[in-house]
Structures are given as C-alpha cells and as structure tokens.
Amino acid sequence: MKTFQIQCKVEIIRILRNRYFVFWSLVMPIIFYYVFTNLVNSNIPNKSEWQAHYLMSMTVFSVMGSSMMTLGIRLVQERSQGWSTFLRTTPLSNTVYFAAQMVGQSVIHVFSIVIIFIAGALINDVSLTVLEWIMSGLWILLGSLPFLALGTLIGLMKKVETAAGVSNVLYMVLAVSGGLWMPLEVMPKMMQAIAKWLPSYNFGSGAWEIVRGGLPDWKNMMLLIAYLVLFMLLSNYIRRKQEVV
C-alpha cells in the first residue's frame, strides 16, 4: 500500500513538472476559451449558454489530451529508455505500476478540471448549479477512461517520435471533428454524421447536455464504453504479441 501511494505521488509530481502537460492541458485550453468566448463569435444569441458549452468543450479537450499524449508518450519514453526493463527486475508488480499510472493520471484530471472550471467562472462568470458543476466534472473524469485506454495503446509504440506524432495528429483530428473547437452545427452534414460516432463527440456531448440542464444520452455512454472495451482489448492483444520474446 505504501508503495502504491509513493508510486502515485511520483506519477503526479512528474506530470506537473512536465512542461508539455502544463502548456497543452492547462494554458492552451484556457487561452482558447478566452479567445473563442470573448474575441470571436460575439453575436451569439444565448451568450451564457455558449460560454458554459465552450467551457465544457475546453475541459474535455484538456483531459482528452493529457490522457492520450501525456500518458502515451510517458509510457513509450519509459520503455524505450530502458526504465521499464529496470523496473521489471524490482519487486514492483505490474498491477501496482499500472494502477498508479491510472490513479495518478486521474488525480491530474481532477486538478485540470477544477482549474479550467475556475478559469471559466472567473473569465466569463459562468454560473452553474452546484449539481451541474459536480455532474459535469464527474462526467469528464469518467469519460476520460476510453482515452486513457487509447493512451496506453499509444504507449505501446516503439519510438517516442512516432508516439508523439501519431498522438498529436489523432488528438487534433478527434478534437476538431468531435466539435470541441467549434460546434458541430457549423460543419458540413457529412462531417456531422461521422462525428456522432467519434469518442470525442460523445465525450463532449454528455457534458454539454449536463450544463444545458439535461443528462447525458445513453448513446453517449454506450459508445464511450464500447470504445473503452475496444481500446483495452486492442492494447492487451498487442502487448501479448510484443511479449513473445
């Protein structure tokens, strides 16, 4: 248990010290939020609804990024630099190591969610009910699971450069086509139809529903669970194939 705590603590410290994380997952989403709710689109009919909607988009954007990129690239780094090999000679169990990665990453997500929510409240006076804040925060925390699984999938790549490149492109494509940067409604019909099936859209959609006073659609949940299962199966399968040495 003590090992697990120290391992979690260490993972958290490492993420907070990682400049890419601070930039991509905290600074960028907040800047985007400011720019897109204050400098452009100023003639939107229901301004406060748009401000809450976009706050959710940016929080989802942040958490999705650190699940895929921070986690994925860190895993590849540890393996390609031989650190994982060293760990395999120590008594640290795989389960504890993996669990600590996930818990550490989730603590970081709680932290990001709180910071970005506070930024939203300060920048635009976004005011939601307590229940809405908590519900949307929880949705984003739990909804990150398929993306954490995708992060471990990216973490199986051989080279840091490939992992960084692939996860970056995937991240941007998912964010834009999932309607996190601009609402789906402004996109071509074709794109909208595809987006409905993407994990990023379903992730965002649940949070958008909550701040509009509703509840996430069961379809959002089912699709996210399906993606979680798919990514987990895939990464287990690949890991087993790689282990045949």
């Binding site: 003590k2 090992t3 120290i6 391992q7 260490v10 410290i13 490492r14 010290r17 990682n18 780094q77 540890e78 630099q81 031989g82 650190w83 090999t85 060293f86 395999r88 000679t89 120590t90 008594p91 640290l92 169990s93 040495v245």
Partner: protein, 300 residues
C-alpha cells in the same frame, strides 16, 4: 542449499542466431563471479535470462531455487543493467525513495550515499540533467537500494573514470565481505582478475573456461616461438608436426604456439625454414586472451 544461482543447459536463440548455447553453471553464496568475454559473447543475454528479462529458448534458470520472476526473488536481487536508464522528471533522492519503497528491508539513503559516493548535490539534481558518471552512481545506488543478497552488474565500469572505477571496486569488495553474492560482466581480463574469485570465460555463447583467475590464466597462456622469415617461404613442412598447437603470422613475425618449445626449435633447423631473430616467449596474458576470444588473427 548454498546455491544462489543455477543455470541448467540454457540456450537462447534469436531469429537465426544462437546468442547463448547450452550453458550450465551454478554460483554459491558469497562468490564473486566475473562473466568475462568479448563483445557479442552472450554476456548480456545470459544476465538477462538470470534476471528473468528474457526467457530461455530451452533450459532453466533458478535463483534461490525459485524462478527469476517471482517476487521473493526480486526482493533479494539488485542490478545495474548495461544500458543505464533513469526516470525523467524526478530528482535523484525522489527516485531513491521510490525504489526503496519497493523492498521490505531497504538500505537507508545515508548508507546508499556512503556506498556509492553520491553527493548532496547529486541528490537534488533532476535525473535528466545528470552527467554520465552521476547516472552510473545513481544506478549503482538503485541496485543496492533493496539491500540485495545477490547483485548483478552488466559491464558496470564502462564509462566510468579511473577514480569512480576504483571506488566502485572497493565498494564491491565491501559488499563481498558482507557475504553478498556478486556477478558482474566485463570484457577486460584485468578487471575480472582483480575483482573476482571465479571467472566464467564466455566465447561465442558458450563457456570456454570456468575457474579461479589463476586457473584461467594458466589455461590460456601458452608458450610460443616466434621468428622472422622470408614471406615467400612456404611453412607447409611445419604443419605436419603435432607439437604445434597453433601457427599464425602477425606483424611480420610468425608465431607458433606449443607446449614444447625445445622441440619446435629443433624442427625449425631440421626443416631449414630460414628462421631469423628467433624468440621464445611465455605468452602474455592479455595477448593470449585476445587470441582466445578475438578473431582478428591472420591465418597462414
């Protein structure tokens, strides 16, 4: 039950190549054993199998009479791998605390500092900013963090300066005196001779010799007769004589290895080779080692 390590008919093949070929040995408590051999001899592959990082293609490795990957085994071993790696984003003391937390009875940070020569400055440095030498010291400390009974080092002194090297071997002595079992690999005969009480000589994935440094040295140094001869002159006549264990040309001289130098001298005159500047040598150890393990000699 004093056997700490047993390696039984272990073979490891990669796609087309046998890196380790039917190797067997066992190591008892308190031994300091050098795995000596040139690059590519199979040292790292053997060590990886002992550590449970690679699975033998056939055969079996046991540590403390258990399989290498079992937790009880991992708690009793410490290792420094050939490729030193550290965890990014953490300071040296944070990494040490982390790794210590994995073991039931770790050494204190103070003890680790005393053994490895890590400085207070090192402790506060982030891992990614460490110099090569500092990284080595850290990885040495990580190997000792769990107060292991069996310590395994793969080419530990590569990249160390003379002072650190000296310090490293002193610490190894101290650990050996505490009754720890130590295995290290090296491609320097001198190092194996100085630090180990037993040498496993590896060549092409197999054990070419196993014994004390004195025994190994005696078995690999041969007497030789060397001389200068007209390059046109055929040496074929010499080949038929069984006293010659090896004959080769190096730096304009012909060298003949033998157990009986007197007989070779007789032969040289008898066969009228026209040998000049004849010398009889008790083989130099380093040369003999190179000849045994290297392949760069030119056959006649």
């Amino acid at each position: 039950m004093n056997e700490i390590v047993t390696v039984n008919n272990v073979t490891k093949s990669f796609q087309h190549k046998k890196a380790v070929d039917d190797v067997s040995f066992s190591i008892s408590k308190g031994e300091v054993v050098a795995i000596l051999g040139p690059n590519g001899a199979g040292k790292t592959t053997t060590i990886s199998m002992i550590l449970g990082l690679l699975k033998p293609t056939s055969g079996e490795v046991r540590l403390f009479n258990l399989l290498p990957h079992e937790k009880q085994v991992r708690e009793k071993i410490g290792t420094m791998l050939q490729e030193v790696s550290v965890m990014q984003g953490l300071k040296v003391n944070e990494i040490l605390e982390l790794i210590r937390s994995y073991y039931p009875q770790p050494l204190s940070i103070q003890e680790l500092i005393a053994l490895t020569g890590l400085t207070p400055q090192d402790l506060k440095t982030r891992a990614e900013k460490l110099s090569g030498g500092q990284k080595r010291r850290l990885s040495f400390a990580l190997a000792l963090a769990g107060n292991p009974e069996l310590i395994i080092f793969d080419e530990p002194t590569v990249g160390m300066d003379i002072t650190s090297r000296k310090r490293f071997w002193q610490t190894v002595r101290t650990l050996a005196d505490q009754g720890k079992t130590i295995i290290f690999s090296t491609h320097y005969l001198q190092e194996a001779d100085d630090a180990a009480d037993r040498i496993l000589l590896f060549k092409d994935g197999a054990i070419a010799a196993d014994g004390t440094p004195a025994q190994i040295k005696a078995s690999i140094t041969k007497q030789s007769v060397s001389f200068v001869v007209d390059p046109e002159k055929s040496l074929e006549k010499l080949y038929q004589h069984s006293e010659i264990t090896d004959i080769f040309r190096k730096n304009n001289r012909v060298y003949i290895h033998t157990d009986n130098t007197d007989r070779i001298l007789e032969l040289l005159f008898q066969e009228r080779i026209g040998a000049r500047d004849i010398q009889i040598e008790r083989g130099k150890l380093e040369e003999a080692f190179e000849q045994l393990t290297g392949e760069s000699k030119e056959a006649i």
